[in-house]
Symmetry: C2
Subunit: 339 residues, 2 copies
């Protein structure tokens, strides 16, 4: 490996400028008081030398690296080769990175740092963003214990010890979907959820059960691992069609389950949306490109990400930057599978 050229240090600048290292430090950190003339001179010399403060050394002193960590929980349960159907997380990550940049931070994608295997740089981040923490999430626990600032998108369903989470409005959206299905002519709606114990799955199932109870209906719920993808959807289809009173509408929380279910019921000769209406809880390539395309919930990850980053940075810096306005609760995109 080629040796890195030695970057000029604060001492090089100090010597060349005829001042002390402290003065250089102060002119760059803006902390101490430096005469305007001195400051100008130091800046000038630094520019000549190509000096830039070293973030690592700086971070060592003030434990502030200028980096936010992003943990995309559900990605960790997914296969290594990122399948289609996870638009949500990529859109979230991309937007979060941009927002962080604009606030002067880097955004690092990391896997769970409670795992020994994770890059140790993860622990050095200034704050954490966690999407859809799982029930009793060990990372949330650790961050609380270590007093590291963090924010979760969706809450840890088993942890009441923190309030730094963003409500993604799953309950409300579930009712909206159920209403939509009813209006589209469905009389018996089933639910297919994933098996991760996160608030998304849990809140949706609770809302569904409450709704069913309200209507005096027997709830019809199937669980399939998120990782099962389309074949999980197809398995759910078989299970549902065997039921005592089979559904005429299915709400699948994941796009891949929905796509698999659509294919399975179609192959069995049912028409969609004639015999069975289908809605996906997360919009994705998978839901758009089927025949018919699947009515889906667009969770609006872009806005969610911007809001989350802004809130976290506000916490980090005890500031009050305005939170980007807008509805965090997603919207239903009606397509052929229910229309």
């Amino acid at each position: 490996m080629p040796e890195r050229r030695v970057r000029p240090t604060i001492h090089d600048v100090a010597r060349r400028a005829g001042v002390s290292a402290t003065t250089v430090s102060h002119t760059f950190s803006g902390k101490g008081v430096v005469a305007a003339a001195t400051r100008e001179h130091v800046r000038e010399v630094a520019r000549e030398l190509g000096y830039r403060p070293d973030a690592v050394a700086r971070g060592l002193r003030n434990s502030r690296l200028g980096v936010l960590a992003l943990v995309l929980r559900p990605l960790e349960t997914l296969d290594s080769f990122l399948p289609e159907g996870v638009d949500y997380f990529l859109r979230f990550a991309g937007q979060a990175a941009l927002a962080a940049m604009q606030l002067g931070y880097g955004l690092m994608l990391v896997s769970d740092p409670t795992q020994e295997s994770s890059p140790s740089a993860a622990l050095a981040c200034d704050g954490f963003l966690i999407t859809e923490p799982v029930q009793g999430d060990p990372l949330v626990r650790m961050l609380i214990d270590e007093r590291i600032p963090f924010l979760t998108v969706g809450r840890d369903p088993a942890n009441a010890d923190y309030d730094t989470w963003i409500d993604t409005g799953t309950t409300q959206m579930t009712y909206e979907v159920l209403r939509h299905l009813t209006e589209a002519g469905a009389s018996r709606v089933a639910l297919v959820t994933g098996t991760d114990r996160n608030s998304w799955n849990i809140d949706a199932e609770n809302a569904y059960r409450a709704w069913a109870a309200d209507r005096g209906q027997e709830p019809l719920v199937v669980h399939q691992p998120e990782t099962a993808g389309e074949s999980g959807g197809s398995a759910a289809a078989h299970e549902l069609l065997r039921a005592a009173s089979p559904p005429d509408a299915v709400y699948c929380l994941t796009g891949r389950h929905a796509a698999g279910l659509l294919r399975a019921v179609t192959e069995r000769g049912y028409t969609v949306p004639g015999d069975i209406r289908i809605v996906a809880g997360s919009d994705s390539e998978h839901s758009r490109s089927t025949t018919p395309p699947i009515t889906s919930v667009d969770l609006g990850p872009e806005l969610l990400a911007r809001v989350a980053v802004t809130m976290l940075v506000n916490r980090l810096e005890s500031l009050d930057r305005p939170i980007p306005p807008g509805d965090l609760h997603g919207r239903l995109i009606v397509r052929g599978s229910t229309a």
Copy 2:
């Protein structure tokens, strides 16, 4: 802001284990020689205390943070609110992050670190990945000068001083698209490129001009800024239709230009693909959801990202991990706009 709980340091472990800090350091870095029994004991104590080496302090000594930086060049010229139609970069970033994780690295999304405004942590990264560097890219220059390992996806068209770049096969793909259009019945093909001076735009235009010259045809090229999006596509349409001999096929390198162009020509009463065939050089939501859907090149960012990360880490560690196999040159997805 709450004060962080003090993490145990190497000294805490040393004291508790009755050894010196050096020994602890050695057992964790694997560098020196430590008796097996001692090593076990130290590990044990460290576990009790919840000790994990501090990546920042460690990085200070050996300038190795365990983090890869990813610079998505074209994103920087885009509006802050990430528009639809940039699937490519998000898919690339997501996959790169996963690949990096699996090799024990974090992946940090950063903006150009030659800019003063960028988070200074950016400079501390061990290696850089740059997608589509621009002509005479200042970041590439800087990385060469500073001897920081890097890899570009697409080359810097004006910099022959490095060979650590991945060929995305733009030239070859351009010919493939032109052939496809010809086979679809086109006799006069125009090209719409972006204005960023990167190898993607440049190679495509060169290939197109060579192809036109071969056929003794007058080339018909329009440039529109990437940022212009759909309205850029619509502007291109107006320009092309005014031409002395208007095209019966258009190859738009960006998905958003293609979508705008499709709309504009349709509004003017042309049929697609009857009167005009359209191909987009980059697959995206925009190209899929139009009527008709637009034939597009899927650049395969997932594989590109995995290959790039693996190659970069190999360089960093002077290793020879196998490069994920597969064709890096993208594939054409034929849709209604040419069929």
